[in-house]
């Protein structure tokens, strides 16, 4: 807790214009992201086929290879194979707006801890 103030504020670097974390949570539930990922704030499911996304906002890389930036994250959650060829995560049935909302949720949910 004491060191929390020393971290770079995620709110600044990870601000998403016109994205809504609340809508993002609904989109996560609708698309079933939890089938593979343990996502903060999603009670069920907590799938284990993919990596846990707890604390994702503090993580440096997306899938260990892409810088964790809002634009890249939004592109990745919607169409991972095109954003990062060879990645495991498949393309998901999401609109660009939903993908931005989901990125906003992932940042907001890890910042809230």
């Amino acid at each position: 807790m004491l060191t929390a103030g020393c971290e770079a504020s995620p709110g600044k670097s990870q601000h998403m214009a016109q994205a809504d974390a609340v809508r993002g949570k609904l989109a996560i539930e609708r698309a079933g992201c939890g089938a593979c990922h343990d996502i903060p704030g999603i009670r069920w499911p907590k799938g284990q086929a993919g990596p846990s996304l707890q604390g994702f906002g503090d993580q440096g890389m997306i899938a260990g290879r892409l810088p964790n930036r809002p634009d890249l994250l939004a592109a990745y959650v919607r169409n991972a194979p095109a954003t990062l060829p060879g990645t495991t995560m498949p393309r998901m049935p999401l609109t660009p707006a939903e993908a931005r909302d989901i990125a906003a949720y992932l940042y907001a949910a890890s910042a809230r801890r």
Binding site: G32, G34, A35, C36, W44, G47, Q48, G50, M89, M92
Partner: protein, 309 residues
């Protein structure tokens, strides 16, 4: 779909659920009235005037309020309730579509029956029906007691091993209606969901014709992996060598709205997650995790399953 979404139980979408919902509201209203009377009586007992207490305290109140009024009300309610829900037990027309749904731990086997009672099409966890027509369900169980419940279409009826219970359902208009196993059946009972999709009758007939047409098997890596990794030992895909019947039939899995028995949306990602480690999603279900498969293999199997339509 998600763990947080609730199935609407008081918004009927057909005649059978309609009469049950009507009766439910009547009972709720009457229970509210009884509660109000009891509260008023308590208030009189503690804070009422002596005159009121002595007027109500005699045996006459017991005879009227305790015996006379309940006998009249309950008799009227019984007669009204039985006539209101008469449609639930009324015989359905002989040409009514019949479907046998068998409860399994923790999913549903669905068999569409022809005029002779023989299954002509097998599916799982989802039921397609024509809107505006009754459909008679034959409810059975292969293991423990389950209970079939799609609140917007009909009542709740147990599926008892060794018995065949029948229940009619009907949706007045096209739509998607969620259901849930309503009798605790062990482990992941809470994750034993069901989906009914009601179509316009013409669309329904077209869909059934398409499904009954001969199928061209899908070939490729996914098909080969499906055989080689053991999927086919438990799952059947009509027209292929996959003939297992321990798990849900996957002949039409690509058209399903949901996975894991009505609990997850059906897309490439959820398919891969389910195949890779369904135990993390639905702990205790009878499909083992397939953590030895690579991402490419998972994706190949998922895309093979998406093609099963």
């Amino acid at each position: 779909m998600s763990g947080d979404s609730l199935i609407p139980v008081l918004t009927p979408a057909g005649p059978y659920a309609g009469s049950i919902t009507m009766l439910a509201w009547l009972l709720i209203a009457m229970a509210t009235a009884v509660l109000a009377i009891v509260i008023a009586a308590l208030w009189i007992a503690f804070a009422g005037s002596d005159r009121l207490k002595s007027r109500l305290g005699g045996s006459r109140t017991i005879w009227i309020g305790g015996i006379g009024v309940p006998v009249v009300i309950l008799t009227v309610l019984l007669v009204y309730g039985l006539s209101l829900t008469r449609n639930l037990t009324a015989p359905v027309p002989a040409e009514t579509m019949r479907v046998r749904i068998t409860g399994e731990m923790w999913w549903w086997r669905v068999a569409y029956l022809d005029e002779t009672g023989q299954a002509f099409m097998i599916d799982a966890n989802e039921l397609h029906i024509p809107a505006g027509r009754p459909v008679l369900l034959e409810l059975e169980s292969n293991d423990v007691i389950h209970s079939f419940w799609v609140p917007q279409l009909s009542g709740k009826l147990d599926m008892v091993p060794g018995r065949r219970n029948t229940m009619p359902i009907q949706a007045d208009a096209p739509g998607v209606f969620s259901g849930q196993c309503a009798e605790y059946c062990g482990g992941p009972h809470a994750l034993m969901g069901f989906v009914v999709i009601a179509h316009e009758p013409a669309d329904f007939d077209r869909m059934m014709t398409e499904r009954r047409a001969s199928r061209t098997p899908v070939l490729g890596t996914g098909a080969e992996l499906f055989q080689r990794t053991g999927c086919a030992a438990c799952h059947r895909i009509a027209g292929t060598k996959a003939n297992g019947t321990a798990g849900p039939d996957l002949t039409h899995v690509g058209t399903r709205r949901s996975l894991g028995a009505g609990i997850l949306p059906n897309n490439r990602g959820t398919l891969m997650g389910w195949i890779g480690d369904s135990q993390a999603i639905k702990p205790g279900n009878r499909m083992p995790p397939y953590k030895m498969l690579s991402a490419a293999e998972l994706e190949a199997i998922a895309s093979y399953l998406e093609a099963q339509r």
